[in-house]
């Protein structure tokens, strides 16, 4: 592949006897949207957790921009330019929308070990937080407490917080799950826009959305990569039809 932003080589993760990630080798090309699909329990979230440092693998290597980031803690991986959103909403429930984005935006200061001047005077952080809020479509909800918002809006905020850290590579774990049609379309539009300047790794069940925005597609089943290639290649793959897409249609 021409220019891989992220390479993973023979990555494995076990939970007791369960092999959630089984010898996965993949490359992600810079500037592309790479979707990962697969049935529930296929190991998609586990893979994202390994990439973001939330879990550390039993075996294998992860290279980001050529640097080995295997087993780095989450905060170091975030600082290197990998942002993630969570499948299970993971926000500061008692903070307002804006405060949620603020904490994210402030993480790009060299250090937050600053004790004397009020944080609100930090112009750059303020702008970064406002921009993220605008991008995720929550500007009108700026001062609403996050826990008081709808589930779909909380999912949007999840994306906004990720954006406020200004990452180069975005790991999105089912960003559309639980969203209404309207919100979904809005977020798909946002992802499409983000794709112009970022690399996206997108886990998503909504196949229309996947086919609409993805360049590359990987199908995972039982912790393994079943097939990987361009969207066209996967669509016409016999194995995938049987193992996954067929199943979806049968349901």
């Amino acid at each position: 592949m021409a220019d891989a932003i992220l390479r993973i080589d023979r990555l494995s993760k076990c939970f007791g006897g369960l092999i959630a990630t089984n010898n996965v080798t993949l490359e992600f090309e810079r500037g592309q949207v790479h979707a990962i699909i697969g049935p529930n329990g296929a190991g998609k979230t586990t893979l994202i957790n390994l990439l973001s440092g939330d879990l550390s693998p039993n075996d294998g290597v992860i290279l980001f921009n050529g640097r080995n980031i295997t087993r780095l803690p989450p905060h170091k991986i975030s600082q290197m330019g990998i942002g993630r959103s969570y499948q299970k909403t993971n926000i500061f429930a008692e903070f307002t929308c804006f405060e949620n984005c603020w904490v994210a935006a402030q993480s790009r200061l060299k250090s937050s070990m600053r004790f004397f001047r009020p944080a609100r005077h930090l112009q750059a952080v303020q702008e970064r937080a406002e921009r993220a809020l605008g991008l995720c479509g929550l500007k009108p909800r700026r001062d609403i407490q996050a826990s008081a918002m709808s589930y779909g809006e909380q999912r949007q905020l999840e994306i906004g917080m990720m954006l406020a850290t200004e990452p180069e590579l975005l790991l999105l774990d089912e960003p559309l799950a639980g969203m209404g049609r309207e919100e979904s379309l809005q977020v798909i539009e946002l992802l499409r826009r983000l794709a112009k300047e970022h690399t996206l790794i997108l886990i998503e069940h909504d196949m229309d959305a996947v086919f609409a925005i993805a360049d590359q597609l990987t199908v995972m089943v039982n912790g393994r990569v079943l097939e990987t290639g361009t969207v066209e290649q996967i669509r016409s793959s016999q194995a995938v039809q049987e193992a996954y897409l067929g199943v979806e249609e049968a349901v």
Binding site: D54, H75, R84, N90, S107
Partner: protein
């Protein structure tokens, strides 16, 4: 609530405290001095419990170390220079907090409670069983710290009123210091850690560093309170750092209102006054005290100070300006 109406009760309280020695007898000046000292101690704990999400059950260790540092260094001195004694106490308490914090912040929840309790009990038993430092009899100090420039006394804490104002200034400075760091970038991070530490880490913060700094700052301020208590009573013993003392501090913070800073001041008034006057009423006063604490926690789960916004809103609704439920229950110090 506007910042004016919010700070009004504080200003009134401060003015009352400033004028108090003009009217109060020496006994009451001494009693309120003790309340102020306990308020500093509880406020420092509120930084951990109310703002960082660290429920420490060993906070009294730093209170005790602040007092012992003063007593050990100056028990045989002919004069206690304030500008040597005070930094020494702060440093000793801060260092102890660095050690205890470094070990304990790696755990969370109930484990954090247990490990802070265990480590502080180690300090307790060290002093309890150390004949050099008086064992369980403790150490007496016959002098009060003095602030001198050259050979000139600027401030002699031997005077009860001087001590009172020195303690009050310490309380005000502690409050302002905490407000300052809570509004600074550091404060944003620790509040976020309290809300959801996992997410803070995922956003790129090394959370242990922030928790440790918070722990050390809180320990140092507890050391300030311990220094004042030691200097005020002239008597330092292991009971200063017993788990009982840590528990009382937690009760004061919860009683007054967690995560408010001013709540612990109110809590300190309630608890210390009750501790002083209940024994005159009944010999089962501790039972009564426990009952009062439990009732407040049951009926005012956000602490005694959550009454203030309610009262304010009651006054306002009587004037015909209704206040939304959300606003009336919201109690926070940053605007």
């Amino acid at each position: 609530m506007s910042s004016l109406t919010r700070s009004l009760p504080l200003v009134v309280a401060l003015l009352t405290l400033l004028l108090f020695p003009l009217f109060g007898s020496s006994f009451y000046v001494g009693l309120v001095t003790r309340i102020i000292i306990i308020a500093i101690f509880a406020m420092s704990l509120d930084l951990l419990i109310g703002y960082t999400g660290l429920v420490s059950f060993g906070h009294a260790a730093f209170f005790g170390i602040g007092g012992y540092a003063l007593a050990i260094a100056f028990q045989d001195a002919s004069v206690i220079p304030l500008w040597q004694a005070l930094p020494l106490s702060l440093l000793a308490a801060g260092l102890a907090a660095l050690v205890i914090g470094w070990i304990s912040i790696r755990t969370s929840g109930i484990y954090f409670i247990m490990i802070t309790l265990a480590l502080s009990q180690m300090f307790f038993y060290y002093f309890f069983e150390s004949p050099r430092y008086g064992g369980d009899d403790g150490i007496f100090l016959f002098l009060k710290p003095v602030l001198m420039i050259g050979s000139e006394d600027i401030l002699n804490l031997d005077n009860e009123n001087n001590f009172y104002y020195f303690a009050l200034s310490s309380l005000v400075l502690t409050y302002l210091f905490l407000v300052m760091i809570l509004q600074a970038p550091f404060g944003k991070v620790i509040k976020a850690i309290k809300a959801n530490e996992h997410r803070v880490r995922a956003l790129g913060y090394s959370t242990n560093g922030y928790k440790l700094v918070s722990f050390v700052l809180a320990g140092t301020l507890a050391g300030l309170a311990g220094f004042l208590e030691g200097a005020h009573t002239g008597y330092i013993n292991p009971a200063y750092m017993s788990w009982h003392e840590s528990g009382v501090a937690i009760a004061i913070v919860i009683l007054g209102g967690v995560g408010t800073l001013y709540g612990p001041i109110v809590g300190a008034f309630i608890i210390v006054l009750l501790q002083n006057f209940l024994p005159e009423l009944t010999e089962h006063w501790q039972l009564l005290l426990g009952g009062i604490v439990i009732s407040v926690v049951l009926f005012l789960p956000r602490g005694a100070t959550s009454l203030f916004p309610r009262l304010l809103s009651l006054i306002r609704t009587e004037k015909g300006v209704p206040l939304s439920q959300e606003e009336s229950t919201k109690v926070d110090t940053d605007g």
